[in-house]
């Protein structure tokens, strides 16, 4: 997507129209170039490892190098494209709009919408608390708020891209659907418990206040700019985790025996799913770093349900986030949150181990 260069705000509307058409053409051309290069990556990795370096096909070293040379550019290209598109899309979904929209929703329908909006609303883990406060202030039910707070980190676009790129669309779809379902159901369950009194007292008092809303007018050029900013921000930050993750993945891929993981993370080890969830909670990894490792584990005989449970636990139940949420939630409510989401993840893990 290098072809989309900065386009300065042009003064006249006619000039703007022209550059709008230009954006579309450049965008489409960029997409074609992107696809052509993408398709060459696999043959190139074979050529590079087995012909250019002359390493024997099927050897440990050859397997590891070919995996690394193929997967690194592939994942980076996918990541750049998707982060750009999501960055543009997100300029339509501001936190203010989401809040206003959810404020008018009842529970159940609200849980569904909140989980879906959780994916598209721009959100970073440190803005979880202000966002939570805003939801409370707008009178959004607690359960609906939780659906949003669970879905936002759990269904992560970077994880989704990596799962698609490394494991295929079926696993990516499973992750998306189960992640959304857990967010919807867990939020709904928390709503049933009527735990509003377990929110810290000073938060309750905010209900009387007024939220400051500043609507931004964005042109299409502005939205493209947002996409570029997202790429610079996110890809610039996660690329090293991706490369490191693929590096570890490549080592596992080349050197660990095929059935090694089957005994610890296989289907027959019933305890592996809860163990995966418990191990995942204190781990706070970037989604970008964890997926390549997940792929390698799967390739060595780990069961899909166990691996998914591990990944969801790492992403959705993180210790640092709990510490931040503690400022607005009483400990009992945090315990309920962990229990409900953890149960959902356990259930997903066992379900996939059973079905697949």
């Amino acid at each position: 997507m290098q072809s989309i260069q900065p386009i300065n705000q042009l003064p006249s509307s006619e000039a703007k129209q022209m550059s709008m058409a230009k954006i579309t053409i450049i965008g489409l051309l960029g997409l074609v170039v992107w696809y052509v290069i993408y398709k060459q990556l696999e043959p190139f990795s074979h050529f590079f490892s087995y012909s250019l370096l002359g390493i024997e096909k099927g050897s440990h070293l050859g397997e590891a190098i070919q995996f690394f040379v193929y997967d690194t550019p592939k994942v980076m290209m996918l990541l750049t494209l998707i982060v750009f598109v999501i960055g543009m899309l997100r300029s339509f979904f501001t936190q203010e709009r989401t809040r206003k929209y959810l404020a008018g929703k009842r529970e159940t329908a609200g849980n569904v919408m909140a989980a879906l909006l959780g994916i598209l609303t721009p959100f970073c883990s440190c803005s979880a608390v202000p966002l939570f406060l805003g939801f409370v202030q707008a009178g959004i039910p607690l359960g609906v708020t939780f659906s949003f707070l669970i879905a936002a980190p759990m269904v992560n676009e970077i994880a989704l891209v990596l799962l698609y790129g490394l494991l295929g669309w079926k696993v990516a779809a499973l992750y998306l659907v189960t992640g959304l379902l857990i967010a919807m159901v867990a939020g709904w369950v928390i709503g049933r418990f009527k735990l509003e009194h377990w929110i810290e007292d000073w938060v309750q008092e905010l209900r009387a206040g007024e939220a400051v809303v500043i609507e931004e007018k964005l042109t299409w050029i502005g939205r493209v700019e947002r996409g570029r900013e997202a790429v610079r921000d996110i890809v610039g930050k996660v690329w090293m985790y991706v490369v490191a993750g693929i590096g570890v993945g490549a080592l596992i891929h080349g050197y660990v025996p095929e059935t090694f993981m089957a005994s610890i993370m296989g289907k027959d080890a019933w305890w592996s799913v809860p163990a995966a969830v418990v191990v995942g909670i204190p781990m706070y990894s970037n989604a970008a770093g964890i997926v390549p490792i997940v792929e390698a584990l799967l390739g060595k005989g780990a069961a899909l349900g166990t691996v998914l449970a591990f990944m969801m636990s790492v992403i959705a139940l993180s210790l640092p986030e709990m510490v931040i949420l503690r400022k607005v939630l009483k400990p009992k409510l945090i315990a309920v949150f962990i229990t409900v989401v953890g149960t959902g993840i356990l259930f997903t893990g066992y379900l996939f181990n059973l079905v697949i």
Partner: protein, 76 residues
């Protein structure tokens, strides 16, 4: 002039702070820049997404780091 940068301290909050401080020193404006990290204080100003910039009690931008040109306009 009193400028408040509200945010718990993640990457984009730090970026907002840097942009504001740079604009203040470049424009040689007489302004104090304070960083507000307490969620309660932030919420009581009606701010529910961070980073946010408050100039002399007026909320200027919410939920994103401002552009340098915007800050120059607010403080001039």
């Amino acid at each position: 002039m009193e400028i408040k940068v509200c945010g718990p301290g993640c990457a984009s909050c730090e970026q907002a702070q840097k942009i504001v401080e740079a604009a203040v020193s470049a424009g040689s404006v007489d302004a104090t820049v304070t960083k507000i990290t307490d969620f309660q204080e932030i919420a009581q100003m009606g701010i529910f997404s961070t980073p946010a910039i408050v100039v002399d009690g007026e909320v200027k931008c919410v939920g994103r780091a401002p552009k340098p040109a915007e800050v120059e306009e607010w403080i001039s």
